[in-house]
Amino acid sequence: MTATAPPRPAETAPVVAPGERGPGARRTWVPMVVSALMMIFISLASVCVGPVSVPPSQVLGTLLAHVPLLHFHTSTPPIDQAIVWQLRMPRIVLAGLVGAMLAAGGAAYQGIFRNPLADPYLLGVAAGAGLGATIEIVYGGDSSTFLPIFAFVGGSMAVAATYLIGVAGGRRAWGRSIVLAGVAVAALLTAIQTYLQQRDAEQIRQIYNWILGSFSVASWSDVTLILPYVVVSAAVLLAHRRMLDVLRVGEEEAGTLGIHAARTRLIVVAAATLGTAAAVSVSGLIGFVGIIVAHTVRLTAGASYRIIVPVSMIAGAAFLIGADLIARTVEAPAEVPIGVVTACIGAPFFLFVLVSRRAARGVGVGDT
């Protein structure tokens, strides 16, 4: 196993003050390039493979026909063009955006709360989004046009409530009280959601489908709906990746380095929540991505958030695009719920990484 995971001497990444280029600056690029290549490869495979076989030349022709200003004309039949451009491409792009957001959100939460079990659903965004979606499905009339908006608002409000309760709970034990508040808020909202769902058995399958999560009906309009939130959220998280390294050492040390810990935390939590709420509003509650991608990146690429945040985004996108490829092909033409795929692949893979890294250098997950 040591062959796959060569020990690196500077693994316990030194704390680097914001703005300073540390000794590991070059190391940042290697995992980014590797994960980007992985993502490109998986995306290419995804656009070429599906329940319907479309020859790669026709896939390429269809893609070129949609490059602006190129005026490329393809002889691909309209149905195949629609399959590639209207169904597969938005699925891939949407899965990429959602995967990137969940993984980056998980990484940010793990850093902020210094808790290896933190995932982007920790503060109740999933429970809130689930309640919002259920309310829309039960009371919102026939079409589900407003479903993403209800889910987004529900998710954001749940985290806002958690944050306010948690901060009121005490400044010293900030991290613990906000996590406990998150547990309580999530439990309450899930209870309300379950009650509404059981009361209206006719809609139960629709609700259940949403909660399981899926990209089966993804469209370009979903992509444009969440893109602004994802871009803003990703930019904020990337801008704060060095501060997450500093917070890791402790608040007082952060203070001596001129970092306002409370403000940084609020900004990072708000950005991660915004992005996660936008992601789940169109994808439903896909589990496991948020927690395992960041850990896998940490265990393989390095413990600094300068690496973890950007690489998690790229690797998260690659992971979810790949999971969706499996979800739509393994039992084609039937679909498999993507949450089943993320857990079935993610859990063993994560254990493998964990065990092999431990064997290699005796490092645990708790080393955040």
Partner: protein, 310 residues
């Protein structure tokens, strides 16, 4: 319409006279051929109904429709919140999916009909001395006919149940004969919701459509048999299959219509969408395999005649 008295064999009429003499049969104004106590076979085993029931609680929308169709409507005391047909049924807020024994018992029923046996419900009702019949969704038409006969026997309407079955059979065969059988099988995509859950030809609804010479594109989903015949299909597979007909059984639940289908990305390429062969079905009729199944089949047959696949 539901208290049908014509077409009952003479024997039944004679027997009904005897039934009046038996305990529990007193006051029975409707004809009955059943001698109580009676043993009936339901999905939960053999159930003994001690006397002609006069306070039936139905927790299954399909069973409610069946009870009214066989003339047992006047014996029904309460139906669950989803039993919305016929409109005259005594609606309550009883929940068939999550039944509360005390709430059921408060109606003092002498027979309870459920669609799926909730775990432990029959035992609890047994202790209260209330017989329970479990009638889950029928697997095929003969299963539906058996449920009619079982309910007829349990409620004292054996003859009417038999007549209803005969009537459905003859109406179905009339509809089937009226449809010009296409030389090639007509393909359809049957939609259960807007995330592309569908039904194969081996489901109840698939068998009904099979009578009209139609077969489901969902049959290609190999795992479909394992999933009970209701797989979730890939959008791209539906586009490529280019089914001749699209049948929407999600018009009530999910507000789908030919217009919403045409607006889906890529779907305007489909022959069914271009040629107006998208049929809106009533979700409730399409998912309750009781007396109104004939309506569904005749709507489908009318569509085949009105919009024949070229």
């Amino acid at each position: 319409m539901f208290t049908r008295s014509r077409g009952i064999p003479l024997v039944a009429a004679l027997l009904s006279g005897m039934a009046v003499l038996l305990p529990g049969g007193a006051g029975a104004s409707e004809s009955t051929g059943t001698v109580f106590p009676v043993k009936v076979h339901a999905a939960n085993g053999t159930v003994t109904v001690p006397a002609r029931p006069t306070a039936i609680v139905s927790l299954s929308p399909t069973a409610t429709e069946m009870l009214y169709a066989i003339g047992a409507g006047s014996q029904v005391k309460a139906v669950d919140e989803y039993s919305d047909y016929p409109a005259s049924a005594p609606h309550t807020d009883l929940d068939g999916n999550n039944p509360n024994v005390e709430a059921i018992a408060s109606y003092k029923p002498d027979l309870v009909v459920v669609s799926d046996e909730a775990p432990g419900l029959d035992k609890q009702l047994d202790e209260l001395g209330i017989p329970v019949l479990s009638d889950p969704a029928a697997a095929n038409l003969s299963g539906e006919y058996a449920q009619f006969e079982e309910l007829g026997k349990a409620t004292g309407h054996e003859a009417q149940a038999g007549a209803e079955v005969t009537k459905i059979k003859s109406e179905i065969s009339k509809i089937v004969q009226s449809v010009h059988k296409s030389a090639r099988p007509l393909t359809y995509y049957y939609e259960l919701d807007q995330t592309y859950y569908s039904a194969t030809s081996s489901t109840f609804i698939g068998q009904m459509l099979g009578l009209l010479g139609m077969h489901s594109i969902a049959d290609a989903a190999k795992g479909a048999a394992a999933s009970g015949g209701y797989p979730q299909l890939s959008g791209e597979f539906i586009l490529k299959s280019n089914p001749e007909y699209i049948l929407l059984a999600d018009t009530i639940c999910c507000g789908q219509s030919p217009a919403t289908v045409a607006a889906r990305p890529g779907w305007s390429n489909l022959a069914a969408v271009k040629n107006g062969r998208v049929l809106e079905l009533n979700d409730d009729i399409a998912s309750r395999w009781g007396p109104r199944i004939v309506i569904l089949l005749s709507e489908m047959a009318a569509e085949l005649k009105q919009h024949p696949a070229s």
